[in-house]
Symmetry: C2
Subunit: 273 residues, 2 copies
DNA sequence: GTGTAGTTTGAATCCTACG
DNA sequence: GCGTAGGATTCAAACTACA
């Protein structure tokens, strides 16, 4: 079996999108893509965490917070502007009966949900990813923040025949219909990509089972999945694993190169190397 | 023991607010209340459900959805306007170091959260009330909507010494710090108020244990709790049960009269009648 | 290899009182 | 407002070290 995944460094040919990882800004790339192209979109945009100070655990070790450049915004106005821009393009490139998933935390999800509703997206569900092993609240001043929220929506109130694999979801919930509270551990251990120094490659890598559930819930085999904030390509791996195709966009070429390594490892596993 | 709860039909004397249920529009009532009055606010505003058609169960019985007049808004703009108005007043009457809780579903919580952030409220947590017994999705076209979301916030980013009873919460979570996923059954059975014909008095009565947790988490004994959408006074009952005081506002006098009955029953229980 | 103890770490808007 | 010193504060999972 030969997994044919390609990195595209300068994206121009809009027909070249099947199982590609495109290096570039998602907005610029989307602008080159035709209307009604993708069956579903999964988006994990920056959360705009607004971390102020350093945080130490009770044992005085420092918490490695998300301080990446890509998560820095100059207030809600700029974050909203950014969100509106990509959500508008996302709506255009999403097929008429496609669905979109967006994940976020309380820092950004109210912005995102509000904008989506204003744009005419019609929410199907909010889904709560409940973490089995979240970081505790070390100072004891709030509740443990043990969840992230996903919004699942269609382009328009009128859309009816979107894909929802009801029976497949039932199988994953002991024969009962799947609910909107989903329980997964955070991405850790062997799954978590780390460089030669043992440093995590991406500060917010999502767990593969979460993406697999999304793929299994809302796509058919052969569907084309789009992820505008591709990161290290968890979405692509989930799609590929279940016989779906994908188009990933990611600004940071380092992430993309790691994504290619993931696929190589995946291939080696399959061929028993 | 004599529980002294009073209904106030025309509210004018702003000093008369301790353990009172005020009949009236929350905005008009709040305008008569001084700045920095309440220790916490709990608000369960209309959800703006936008139900389109009638919904039937598989056995052809009709689902009694929320179609009350108080939940009718003319689009998001009107809902946002309404939300801004009461949230602005709420901020004013909340004490400097007080906290506010607002509950909602995906229909309205993104509007509410967005507005709160725009107004300078600083979110402490989003809390997911996970329902043990939600209504299934009868048509099998979405995930079971098994949750509601609460936003817990302070008036301003700079507020530090708000009340959070960390150890008390720990006691309610097997000695571990309390997380933001809360598991309660929907309000049903003996707790659910029903009239002489067996029809539920209020279409969205909240479970008492949910309100008790909020009271125990974020108030001290003797604190004054405000609820602008009082309904049948679950907030007041929770406050009273734990030695806190309350001010409730409710437009519908029928709900208020039922609230008074709740307190009378509560008193009878305590005196063994 | 097996079992146990110790270590590390995770999308985090994480202190308070006093001068 | 600011700066600083004092003091209280963590859970689960996966990994490593070692007997």
């Amino acid at each position: 079996m030969n997994i044919d995944i390609k990195k595209i460094k300068s994206f121009n040919d809009e027909s070249e999108i099947i199982n590609k990882i495109i290096v570039g800004d998602c907005l610029e790339v989307m602008k080159k893509i035709k209307d009604n192209t993708f069956d579903i979109i999964f988006a994990d945009p920056p959360y705009n965490m607004q971390l102020q100070n350093e945080l130490y655990r009770p044992n005085n070790t420092k918490v490695d917070g998300v301080d990446d450049e890509w998560d820095k915004f100059n207030g809600f106005e700029h974050y909203d502007e950014f969100s509106k821009a990509w959500l508008r393009e996302a709506k255009r490139v999403l097929k008429k009966n496609g669905t979109i998933w967006v994940i976020g935390s309380y820092h950004n999800i109210f912005r995102v949900g509000n904008i989506m509703q204003d744009m005419g997206y019609w929410i199907l569900n909010d889904v709560h990813w409940i973490k089995s092993n979240p970081m505790p609240n070390f100072k004891g001043v709030r509740l443990t923040n043990a969840s992230e929220t996903l919004v699942w929506a269609v382009k328009d109130k009128k859309v009816k025949n979107y894909t929802f694999n009801y029976e497949e979801m039932k199988k994953h919930n002991y024969g009962k219909q799947m609910r909107n509270d989903w329980y997964f551990a955070i991405c850790n251990g062997a799954e978590r990509l780390k460089d030669e120094k043992g440093v995590k490659v991406h500060s917010t890598q999502k767990p593969l089972p979460l993406l697999e559930r999304i793929v299994l819930a809302s796509t058919k085999k052969g569907d084309l999945v789009f992820d505008p904030f591709g990161g290290t390509c968890t979405t692509g791996v989930a799609a590929y694993k279940h016989g779906r195709n994908f188009t990933m966009v990611e600004k940071d070429e380092n992430y993309v190169d790691w994504a290619l390594k993931r696929f190589k490892n995946f291939q080696n596993q399959l061929t028993g190397i």
